[in-house]
Symmetry: C2
Subunit: 230 residues, 2 copies
């Protein structure tokens, strides 16, 4: 039977998911962390995820490889697609950016659902965010609600009455609020990586949308930014 | 922009999905076949899928590896889980069998959705079946409807107004009706594989649920069963 004390946490190793992992651990969940290694450009994220999992003393950390380059179609999985740079902050979120990966969160939540069911967990935690969501359709609350309905119909545990939940503690927080929340829980953001274009020493570019949102978040939170920039 | 003439077909190489591939091709679709190689016990299915794709002259056939053994929890992905044998036919479908793979169709449809979006296709074809569905929750029409709603919210093409559809031409057919349909379209069922426990020469066991349903289907259809049994 699925247990509400067990939770799968989708942990990319970025700022948001690392905060979510700390929140789930602080709520007493037995955390089964799942990192999807989808051959994104940012391989440093995987190392960051391992560190975050270790620090949060998760019950299990599974790194699941899946080669989304076979599909292509995104700046994160296809080197022929250009990432946007130096976009004005007030333009971010108005259109779907080149970093959009087709159906990414649906693929990730589906894998998390399969993983959860084998572990007897009925909760999946994910760091989606509506306010700073950078224009991704699969970070909206109506999308999450639809996925939960699908998950309840899709699974043996759902048919048997498990209360499948997707926990999105960051959904309505600004990046600054996320950073304050994580800081209050002791998250070491120097471990996390967010940049879409880290160099081979794990240093951030400071110019992609992800960097721009992260930088502004630290400024607005009044927390020193520990990110190594090149 | 997504095109309704392009379709992703989930092609396992089994009887059902091979029939679906033939139906999509017969309706004039430009077929982008997607075979998920999930390290199931039945590796012969992959070879069957290649043959079926070739015969149907698909535009593209992508074999996508994903190691669901990392999750385990099913007789198809975990050698410690026993398959049921010689189950009375009227018992099949009353409970969810050991061959259930947690969240399998959600994972497969999510991957198909990502693939479809990169190819500009708004249709996904899948061989789910309600009548002979063997007790899998993710073969029911209400599940498919929920997934479509999720897909429309999940994707850039959905946000931009593409009419995302999941085509399930076998949903209400019996196995015998599926075999008659495929036979009328020239499907060569000797190419297809269905058994959960093929031997190393690709011969079927004749005793697992999948074999029992397939055998009965040929009998009821009055079509000679070309399946090689051991």
């Amino acid at each position: 039977m699925a247990s509400s004390s067990k939770a799968v946490v989708l942990l990319s190793g970025g700022l948001d998911s690392s905060t979510v992992c700390a929140v789930a651990a602080s709520k007493g969940r037995e955390v089964h962390a799942l990192t999807i290694d989808y051959n994104q450009r940012n391989l440093w994220e995987i190392n960051a995820a391992k560190e975050v999992a270790r620090v949060n003393r998760v019950a299990e950390h599974l790194i699941f490889p899946i080669d989304l380059r076979l599909f292509g179609g995104s700046a994160l999985t296809d080197s022929s697609v250009e990432l946007a740079r130096d976009v004005p902050l007030d333009e971010i979120g108005k259109t779907i950016p080149a970093s959009y990966v087709p159906a990414r969160n649906t693929i990730f939540l589906s894998l998390a659902l399969g993983f959860a069911e084998t572990r007897g967990a009925s909760e999946i935690w994910i760091g989606v965010n509506q306010l700073d969501y950078s224009g991704y359709p699969d970070c909206r609350p109506e999308y999450i609600d639809a996925f939960v309905k699908t998950a309840r119909l899709a699974t043996k545990m759902g048919v048997e009455g498990a209360d499948i939940k997707i926990e999105t503690p960051l959904l309505y927080l600004t990046k600054a609020e996320i950073i304050k929340l994580g800081t209050s829980l002791g998250v070491d953001y120097s471990l996390t990586r967010t940049c879409y274009d880290l160099d081979d020493q794990g240093r951030a570019c400071g110019r992609c949308e992800s960097c721009l949102l992260r930088k502004r978040g630290f400024e607005e939170a009044g927390v020193p930014d520990p990110t190594p920039y090149r």
